[in-house]
Amino acid sequence: MSLKIIVLAKQVPDTRNVGKDAMKADGTVNRAALPAIFNPEDLNALEQALQLKEQYPGSTVSLLTMGPPRAADIIREGLFRGTDGGVLLTDRAFAGADTLATSYALACAVKKMKDYDIIIGGRQAIDGDTAQVGPQVAEKLGLPQITYAEKILKVQDGKIQVKRRLERGVEVVEAKYPVVITVNGSADDCRPRNAKLIQRYKYAKTISERQNQDNDYFSNLYENRPYLNLTEWSVSDVDADLDQVGLAGSPTKVKQIENVVFQAKESKKLSGNDTEIDELMKELIVNHTIG
């Protein structure tokens, strides 16, 4: 048995290191001002996919990412870890998408990729933090969904068994595939990049990336090694309806953005010596805060 797996992965700004210029005046994210990384839980999803590929020889893993041209990095990161290829969905018309417009675009691309048994992504992206894209892609494709997955337990007779990690426990569920799965950060960590694969794929590029490298050496390279050509699709390539993508296709609108600043209080400073602690405790008891 072999499986066709599509991994949904997003390039995200590293929100753990956010500076002042992260947001533009119109309330959209200034991605250019932030280091871009592979969304952490999408790496967990990738690992589940690669494990299936090892378990079921002949299986293939392709990665699908939607983003600006530089998101081609995500496809290369996948290749460095063992995927068989990938697609970058990129078009100005996709800009400003909410989760619904994002899911619509991804679903169009998946349909175009045609053959698939398992579509697997992260639970949540660390910039939007919504965890909505997975279930919405499932609905758009008319497929069942398994969210909060921690481990794919087995695949057998057209059915897949998955362990889910919920707020207050665990659940094992079974579904027929094709199915959409979203994976938690508590799942296995992703394997590191493989040195041989880095060698093999470091020049893998999309058409737009190659435009700046237009010399003979490189054009021969891409002719002789077709696996170095990364697929890039636009709105029209995936037959997406312009009214349903990007800002225009998004029912939610960002009305206002505020940076978070907390009001500083006037505080009493104590050094922590015995008398001071005794006095504080006394005060708390007297005013009935404790006791």
Partner: protein
């Protein structure tokens, strides 16, 4: 009538706290909008659950009872919401930002093409002007949520599509009984009209859900520990202090990640929101994501060996010292002087 719906979660016959909190919020929004508050419960053996819901001010409780609808699976519950909403055309739908709500909400919003805002920390009613399109809107739901790892707070509106859908985490809204004798109507819906057999494609084979034993949400005093506590061993000091003064123990995410405390104790943006009368923060630096979950505490004491720890800026008392040194002193004084 375009009413406000709350999807109520139920486990072992008990309506989840987060749903009751949303009913309370929903009641006040419905009053402002002059519409009805309607609750929807989907599950099995639901007879009588309306009694848990009416006191929170629901005008209607819809029950969809079928033994295949418990435990929760995505598609059957989604189908009920999708078909019922096509019929009733609510203006707003609220659900918990739980592993159920965050699985269900997106699926429903996708089918109805209605916007969904995740993890709101405040919900308000207001107007909106779309200057580009030259349109203005009254009585929209402002869905206020942190994003970008807690560094920003965004107000999101859904001007055109209905229902306006939002999820909210447990503990963010306050739960309040309107009246123990509040009267509403029970409407039993025929499950087979809303769900089709082909929706049952995912089966639950095994399920271990623990009842939450730890209840930091309603504790009047919280002693919370961070990474600075240093070890699980040292966390015992916090339990000692908590036992002495009648408090619950909370934790930062760094402390939970390090294995010092259980996940249910995590306070903050991705944990629970608390508002006790006293919050003692021990070895917690006070990152935005933590503060977001405890800033409404009436009194905050920070114990930190760094005099410039960010938590100090929101604390009423700043004690510069180590947890190991300060906590035993507090315990000792209280034990000597409380009786």
């Amino acid at each position: 009538m375009n009413n406000l719906f709350v999807y109520c979660e139920i486990e072992d016959g008990i309506i989840a706290d987060v749903s009751l909190e949303l009913l309370t919020k929903g009641r006040s929004l419905a009053n402002q909008l002059n519409c009805k508050l309607e609750a929807l419960v989907i599950g099995s053996n639901l007879d009588g659950v309306e009694k848990q819901i009416f006191p929170y001010g629901a005008d209607t409780v819809y029950l969809v009872d079928d033994k295949r609808l418990y435990p929760y699976t995505s598609q059957p519950h989604a189908s009920v919401l999708i078909n019922l909403f096509k019929e009733k055309k609510p203006q707003i739908c609220l659900m918990g930002a739980t592993s159920i709500g965050r699985d269900l909400g997106p699926r429903v919003s996708s089918a109805l093409h209605s916007g969904l805002t995740a993890d709101c920390t405040a919900l308000e009613i207001g107007s909106h002007e779309d200057k580009k399109a030259g349109k203005s809107y009254e009585n929209l739901l402002y869905q206020i949520r942190p994003a970008f790892g807690g560094n920003i707070v965004a107000t999101i509106v859904n001007p055109e599509c209905r229902p306006q859908m939002a999820t909210v985490r447990e503990g963010v809204m306050k739960k309040e009984i309107v009246s123990p004798t509040y009267k509403g109507e029970v409407v039993k819906l025929d499950a087979s009209k809303y769900v089709s057999d082909t929706d049952f494609v995912v089966s639950v084979i095994e399920r271990q859900i623990e009842k939450s034993k730890i209840n930091i949400k309603s504790a009047p005093i919280i002693v919370a520990g961070g990474y600075g506590v240093g070890s699980k061993e040292n966390f015992k000091l916090l339990y000692d202090l908590a036992a002495t003064i009648g408090a619950e123990v909370g934790a930062s995410r760094a402390a939970v990640d390090a294995g010092y405390a259980e996940h249910e104790r995590q306070i903050g943006q991705t944990g629970v929101t608390v508002r006790p009368k006293l919050y003692i923060a021990c070895g917690i630096s006070g990152q935005i994501q933590h503060i977001a979950g405890m800033q409404d505490s009436s009194m905050i004491i920070a114990i930190n060996n760094d005099p410039n720890a960010p938590i100090n800026t929101i604390a009423d008392y700043v004690i510069t010292g180590t947890v190991e040194d300060i906590l035993p002193k507090m315990i000792k004084y209280y034990k000597k002087n409380s009786k």
